[in-house]
């Protein structure tokens, strides 16, 4: 049995215990080949970790139902669709080399779900319109409508009762320097798979991941300070979608 035979058989071996002469040949090769042995142990680890992902920090069932109904409405899923599996049991040989990154798909979906969860579950106190005195929707009409930026001038919220007690709070739209975010467990796993399957791409994905994580952190910090800012909430959702996009691109490309 060659390395390439072993790699082709890995999905089936991981999914079900082989027996007979195939099993003994497979075991013999694994024992004698450190590369294949390492690959097998890595994949077993990834598969087991991926199975545990669903159990950690799972949003409420309502979030999943909302996503499912949206996907159904867009025709992306059907009710009778087969259950997704992390390790497909029968993948054509030609495409078999892709299977090991499939765990990224539920992770990407979970990211979007987490984004929706975070955005939708931020406490939103009653907030009056953030409207600068003297301006209205109509003031930009006319020809003199080149508007200059007014940096560091915070919006002037109407004094809601809850906010009167917080008058000493500093301007809310001044962004504090964002600390470089630590990669999460998902990110570590993601980078680990990239390292295994496409080592030359690790630095690129790591950089992009750091940028996307910084965007999420920055937006999240702003939303925490300005929970009534609907646009900022939407940007937080967008930032999570960017991260999901990164995972999806990796899913498509890592082989």
């Amino acid at each position: 049995m060659t390395c390439s035979d072993v790699q082709r058989a890995l999905p089936e071996v991981l999914d079900s215990s082989p027996n007979g002469t195939f099993a003994s040949e497979f075991e013999d090769h694994i024992k004698g080949c450190p590369d294949c042995s390492d690959l097998l142990s890595d994949l077993k680890l990834i598969a087991s970790e991926a199975c545990q992902l669903a159990a950690t920090d799972e949003p409420s069932p309502r979030v999943w139902l909302g996503i499912a109904s949206q996907l159904r409405a867009e025709g992306l899923i059907r009710d009778q669709a087969p259950k997704p599996v992390l390790v497909p049991t029968s993948i054509g040989r030609r495409w078999g080399h892709r299977w090991s990154a499939l765990w990224l798909a539920p992770v990407a979906a979970a990211l979007v779900a987490a984004g929706a969860y975070v955005v939708n579950h931020k406490p939103a106190p009653p907030v009056a319109k953030q409207q600068t005195p003297g301006t209205s929707a109509g003031t930009s009409a006319g020809t003199n409508n080149e508007v200059a930026a007014t940096p560091a001038v915070p919006p002037a919220p109407a004094p809601a009762p809850q906010e009167l007690a917080q008058k000493s709070v500093p301007p809310t739209n001044v962004v504090q320097p964002v600390v470089e975010p630590e990669p999460s467990a998902d990110d570590q796993q993601f980078l680990s798979v990239v390292s295994t399957r496409a080592p030359s791409m690790r630095a690129t994905y790591e950089n992009q991941l750091a940028v996307v994580n910084a965007d999420i952190l920055e937006t999240e910090a702003y939303v925490n300070r300005n929970p009534g800012d609907i646009d900022a909430r939407q940007h937080l959702m967008d930032a999570y979608q960017q991260k999901a996009l990164l995972y999806q691109i990796a899913l498509d490309r890592i082989q």
Binding site: R94, A141, E146, V212, H235, D238, Q241
Partner: protein, 284 residues
């Protein structure tokens, strides 16, 4: 004289030897042909290499694959009206050594999916749906009508020109996005840190949404544009040099950070949103 002749001989021998021992630039070409019916589905997937698509005859797909190495194979299959082509690196080959460039001539109404990590990807003069994806691929799309155009990149820049009546969805993490004369019922564009530049008239009856996190957004429009605009940057600067009519909106306006208004009959809706990038609407 004899010395000169000897010198010439040495040079000839040297050139011959050099050409024998120099690394040969591998390039082999294969052509694949498929007969298809209307609205065929064609998918091309290469880990490294360019893919370009042009319209050809109505029922014939011609794929020319240019191999830059012998360490890569092409898997190709046709199932009815569906054609799948994919590069397959042989064991131990990295992406750089497994480049295959593809040129396709396809029926104009075919639906196409193209994937390449490095690109570039290009398509032109088609009427079928188009999906293009690539991490670092530079994507160029020209002269597409009445079709869905979906593009996703990680860092690659995206340029769309002359897209008429399209359903356009563009997403990039850090690539710049240029749209020139792009119109349609739905044009959704998003980039994280990349810049979005639009030059066009926003058509009629369309819904346009341009969103960035830190990238700038700039829209260049003619004086007779007919669109309702809403622009807002949470932390960035927003400006326009365009005479907008006031309009009622549930969104409030904040000087320097947002503007809301109509131009002409406001037949299209345009939303420009950024978290920290600058937004500018300019008259052409």
């Amino acid at each position: 004289m004899a010395g000169l002749r000897r010198c010439d001989s040495f040079m000839v021998v040297a050139v011959v030897l050099a050409s024998c021992f120099a690394p040969a630039a591998f390039a082999a070409t294969k052509e694949y042909r498929y007969t298809v019916g209307p609205h065929a589905n064609i998918s091309v997937d290469t880990q490294c290499g360019a893919i370009s698509i042009k319209p050809g005859s109505d029922n014939l797909v011609v794929v020319t694959a240019v191999f830059k190495s012998d360490n890569v194979e092409v898997d190709q299959q046709q199932n009815g009206n569906r054609i799948e082509i994919a590069s397959h690196l042989l064991h131990g080959t990295d992406q750089q050594n497994g480049q295959v460039d593809y040129e396709l001539e396809i029926p104009p109404d075919a639906n196409v999916t193209l994937r390449s990590s490095t690109g570039p990807l290009s398509a032109e003069r088609l009427q079928g749906d188009l999906t293009m994806e690539g991490a670092d691929a530079v994507v160029t799309v020209r002269k597409i009508e009445n079709a869905h155009v979906h593009v996703r990149t990680m860092r690659g820049s995206i340029t769309l020109t002359d897209i008429r009546n399209g359903h356009v969805e563009i997403a990039s993490i850090s690539g710049d996005i240029h749209l020139k004369a792009v119109t349609g019922l739905s044009v959704q564009v998003s980039s994280g840190s990349g810049r979005i530049f639009y030059d066009g008239d926003f058509g009629s009856g369309g819904d346009y949404r341009f969103i960035t996190h830190s990238g700038d957004i700039e829209a260049l429009v003619p004086a007779d544009v007919s669109a309702g605009f809403r622009a807002h940057s949470v932390l960035g600067r927003v400006q326009h040099d365009f005479p907008l009519q006031p309009r009622h909106s549930r969104f409030s306006e904040e000087v320097g950070r947002s503007f809301i208004g109509n131009a002409g009959q406001a037949s299209s809706e345009v939303v420009l949103r950024s978290f920290s990038g600058k937004i500018r609407l300019k008259q052409r």
